[in-house]
Structure formats: C-alpha cells, structure tokens
Amino acid sequence: MTAPDPLSGFLDRLSAAGLHVEAQQAPGLAPARLVIVPAADWGRLGREAKVAAWRWAAGWGEDGDDTIGVNACFEKAGTYFVARTLVPRATPVLASHSAAYPGADRPERHIRDLLGVTFSDHPDPRRWTRHHAWQQGEYPLRRDFPAAGQPPAQTPADYQYNFLLAQGSGVYEIPVGPVHAGIIEPGHFRFQAVGETVLKLEERLAYTHKGIEKIAEGRDAEGLARLAGRVSGDSTVAHAWAACMAMEKAACVDVPPRALWLRALMCERERVANHVGDVGAILNDIAFAFGFHQFARLREEWQRVSHEAFGHRLMMDCIVPGGVATDLESRCMAPMLEQADALRQQIGKLMLIINDLPSVADRLRDTGVLSPEYASALGCLGYVGRASGMDFDVRRDAPYPPYDGLTVKVPLNHFGDVNARVRIRIEEISASFDLIRALLAEPPGGPIRADWKEASAGSEGLGLVEGWRGEILSCVRFGAGGKIARFFPRDPSWTTWPAIELLIHGNIVPDFPVCNKSVNGSYSGQDL
C-alpha cells in the first residue's frame, strides 16, 4: 500500500476549478509525471500550486516547429510533476509564475532572454542572462540561431542595467566585481549601505554564461556527459550523474547495480570534499586561520584518495552514459573506509576546539539569517534550505538507486544563520560517512557499464540527483540519430542565489564574504 498520491488530488482540484489539465504518459520523466496545461491556464496553475503548497522546482523552455514549449517542474513531499504548455512561436506570450513563486523570477527571465517567451505579468522587465554578446530580439535557444551566433568583434562590458537605488542621506553604493578579490568565480554585487550596514544588495550574474544549453545540441550521449560534468566543476559527479540518468531513462538503458554503487560512492565523496573545503573557507572568512588550514589539509587528503581510487582528484568524466568509466579496485576499499573513519574523528576533535571559541560563535551566530518563510518562498535547496527549515533531500524523499536501499540521515535546523549552515554541513559530512560505510560493506559485483542503446528521436528523460548543493534536475531530449536536441541542467544555486540578497539585509558589509561562502552558490551552474 503506497501513501496517498498528492498529485491526483491536486489534479482533481484543478479540474474542479475549471482548468483543463491532462495527465499524460511520459515514462522518461519518472518519477515525475507530465501534466499538459493550456497556455490560458498557466498563470492559474501557478497560483493553485502555491495554495496547495507545491514547491516550484524549475522552469525551462524548448523551441518546436510552430510552438515553443514551456515547462515548470513542481514537487511536494517527494512527488514530482512537470507542467507543460505550448505557446505559438509567432506570439510566445504566457502568464508568469513569479508572483506566486519569487523563485521563478530569474528562471523566467532566462527563458525570456534565450527563447523569446514573454511572461506578460512578470514583475521585472530587465534582462537576466543576456548582457551584450547577442542582441535584443535574438534568441540563442531558437533552432534558427546558429551556435556560433554573430557576436560583436569585441563584446562590451554590461551596461544600461538599472540597479534599484536606495535613496536618502548617507546612503552610498559599493559596486563589486565581476573580477573579485579572491580566487572565485566572477559576478557583480551592488551594495547600498549606510555606514557599515547593508540596506540592499543586488546581484548581477551571467558573467560566466558559456552557452551550455546551446552547445549541448547535436552532441552524442558521451559528449553530453562530458559537458554536464563541467556545468559546475565542484559538482562534476552529481551533474554528470543527473544528465546520464536523464539520458538513460530516455534511451531505456538499465544501469548495472555496481555502476550505481560506484556513482553513489563518488557522489558522497564529492559532498564531503566540498563541505570540508567550505567549512575551512568559512572559517578563513572570519580570519580564523587555524580552522582554514586544518580543513584545507583534510580536503587535500580526501582528494588524493579520490585520485587514487578513481583516477581524478575531482572524479571528472568518471560517470559515463550507461555506467561508470573505471571500476574501484578492491585494494582501495579498506583505505577508503579507514580514511572516512579517521576523518570523522579528526573533524569531531576540530569541532570541539572550534565550538569552544566565543570569537567564532560571535561571527557565525545571528549572521546572515535566512528565515524559513523566505527559504520556502524561494524554494531553497540543499544545506541552505535545510538550515532554514526546508526538510527535503532527493536521496530520502524520492530515492533513486542505490539510495532506495540505504538510510539517508537528513539534518534540519531552523535558525537560518551562517552558524546553522555550518552545523548542517558538518552533520551532512557525518551522514555521508555513514553512507560510505554502508556502501563499502556491500559491494555488488558485475559489470560497471551497460551497452548504450541509441535513444529514439523525440524521447525525453529527467534526472534528479541530490548533489552536494542540493537537488540537481537535468532534462534531456534526443533528436534524430541519437543526438541531443535539448539539455537543461538546473543547478540548485538558482534557488540560493536570490536568498543571499535577503539574508544579507541589515548585516555589515565586512560580513558579506562569510555570508556568501556559507551559501556558496555556483556562478557557472546558474549562468550556464
């Protein structure tokens, strides 16, 4: 007996409200179901979904012959559905979901910039992903736009973007970036401050826009896996897994159990590496050099074992369509387990020292508070969401193999400050150690890769993976000859970047780096 399905009740409710929705078979999208919605009902769908407490997870579009398809993915308690509507290519106008879901604001502007769909009641008319590499009225994701485009001989810096201004005496502005002071990705932050206090922060991103969705078109499955592994280098395992999962569902390829086991091992290793590195970097941002060097040391040791076991320090290109590229030699298993146990101990001891320092607590507590209300409004994912009451993890709530046979501990906190995000990360590291231990206890045998089957033209797939930043959603459609026709990877950073604008409010400017690092959104992952 399965739990009651929140989707059928919701669909009944929509029908009762007069919406003409229709659930369709789309096996490639499983566990999500496909719901076709007339364009005229799109705005109401958003409002009804909000009332019924669905999370707006992602939005993306796709050029067709005479129409443009627009999709929005919703989730509630681990049940997913993809709402799809078609608008005429000649007059692509649709109602916006942004009023009900503030988290839809930037994704809709991205669709507008790249596909030319107008969201009629969208509150923000400004560009988002487009700077000046292509002109207004040109849409890179339209089929008739060549991947090479027609860029100017030299693309000028972004200009004529109207940042919102705060007024009043003593208000001053601090522009930061795109080239930042540290070794970090580029983006622009516009602060309005009074004295040390931030009145308002506005982000301007898309500096690392590399046309990933466009240059995916025409690739074969292996080529797409390589590209997906470079959407955000720190999440190479999780993004490659999500894209491969989507392609495998579209092509009906069954991945052997040993390959799934290896994927999970790598994904947990990636989670630990990033959390360990970030905790160190957060301590560095409050000038606690001891903590920084200790965690940097642990990260390096961890990465070396990844290299030893999988041949790459970040495990890039280790996940391939149908399985994984290299097997784990049995001689590596015992050291891997030992290292996980040793690291757990070391982190425990370090946290005893760190927790004991009032100066650390003073900088982390009550700093950069993201309230549960805001986190829920934006649909914040991963440790950012979980530090602000969003109790969700794909591995537990919509488990994919091998997590369907494992117990995943999901930490939760409600304080929403930098301190809470650090605590959640430390607990997630520990949960990953448990998973690594459980995985290493029962290694399945057999092949590590299934033969690839060419997917039929038009087939589509959806990949959902809990990366270290949270749920990664990856959509793939194949065209003729087994070549990719559409690829959209939604990094969880889309949901946490807007949160920084909110959580920095009222904090002092010098606390921005630690607030930012505690969230650590991926620029590359959101800029695409």
Binding site: H131, P178, G233
Partner: protein, 174 residues
C-alpha cells in the same frame, strides 16, 4: 587557545617537499621555483587569478596551492587582490563573451612587464566549450598569453610546474 596549540604541535608539519609523488622530474620544482622567484622577482611573485568563465574546477585546484601540503607561499609566490599589484595573471577560461571586456581591463591594469598564463584545457584551447555565441574560447583569443598549463583541471603540481616554466623561460629570453 591551549587546545589549538596542542593540535598544531601534535599534527606537526604536513607540508611536503614537493612532490610526494613519483614524478622524478618534479623532485625539486619547489626549490627551483623559489630560486627563480628570488632572482627575478626579488623573492616575491605576485599572482592575480582571473576566472574569465571557467566551470570552477580549475579554481579548486588553484586554491589547493594554498593548502598546507603545497603551501606555495613558502616559495615567495602569493595571490593578490588587485591586478595593479600583480606580476602575473593566471587566467582560467573559456573566456565568456560576458567576461571579455573585464579580462581586457584586468590585463591593462596589470603593470608591465606582465606575464599571462592560460590555465586548463579551456584556457588553453576552449576545452569542452570552444568558441560560440557565448564564449571566445582560448584566453589567447582575447589577450596575449605567455604560456599555457594544460589539464582539466591541471593538478596543483602541474600548476606549480607551469608557473616555474614561464618564469624560467622569461629569464632565458633576451
């Protein structure tokens, strides 16, 4: 505080005589680097890292140069916050068109004589991303480049070797 000191003392020094790996050619790369930096940069080589559109993988390994294992600062190599303080730009790519002008300006803000190293497959030749409506590809398509460090991403050791090679080459140039 006592506990911190205790931890530091018990752990000792993990910093390696580069490298711990078996690559014989690299055995004294660090000492060579230090010697070159000493000769040519009065003991201090200032690097400004510029991410001109990378996937962030290269940055992770550049970060690792500062961890206690590589600790590149012990050779006089350090990362600075402004191009105006830099001898060398370490640029990752592919250069996105949205970063093109920012990269040019950073280059122009760097005092001469300046060195530029393009890092990673993307910086060297565009990598998986190549040239498109959104990307200019290799760093050399936008600013003059003295050397490239290949790899996706290059390992910290490859980065150290690449930095050494470019400053060694500089000294042998007339």
């Amino acid at each position: 505080m006592l506990r911190i000191l205790g931890k530091i003392q018990r752990l000792g020094i993990v910093t390696e005589i580069v490298p711990a790996s078996s690559e014989a050619a690299l055995v004294d790369i660090g000492e060579q680097l230090k010697a070159r930096v000493g000769e040519q940069f009065a003991g201090s080589l200032a690097i400004r890292q510029v991410d001109a559109g990378s996937c962030n993988g290269c940055e992770l390994e550049i970060h690792a140069l500062n961890n206690p294992y590589y600790s590149i600062e012990r050779y006089g190599v350090h990362f600075v916050a402004s191009p105006r303080h830099a001898d060398l730009l370490l640029v990752t790519g592919p250069v996105s068109r949205h970063m093109e002008e920012a990269l040019r300006r950073t280059y122009e803000a760097t005092p001469e004589p300046r060195l530029v190293i393009a890092v990673g497959e993307c910086g060297a030749n565009g990598g998986e991303f190549g040239v498109s409506y959104a990307a200019c590809g290799a760093v050399a398509n936008v600013i003059p480049v003295d050397a490239v460090i290949r790899g996706c991403p290059p390992t910290p050791l490859a980065l150290m070797r690449g930095i050494l090679e470019v400053i060694a080459k500089r000294s042998s140039d007339p």
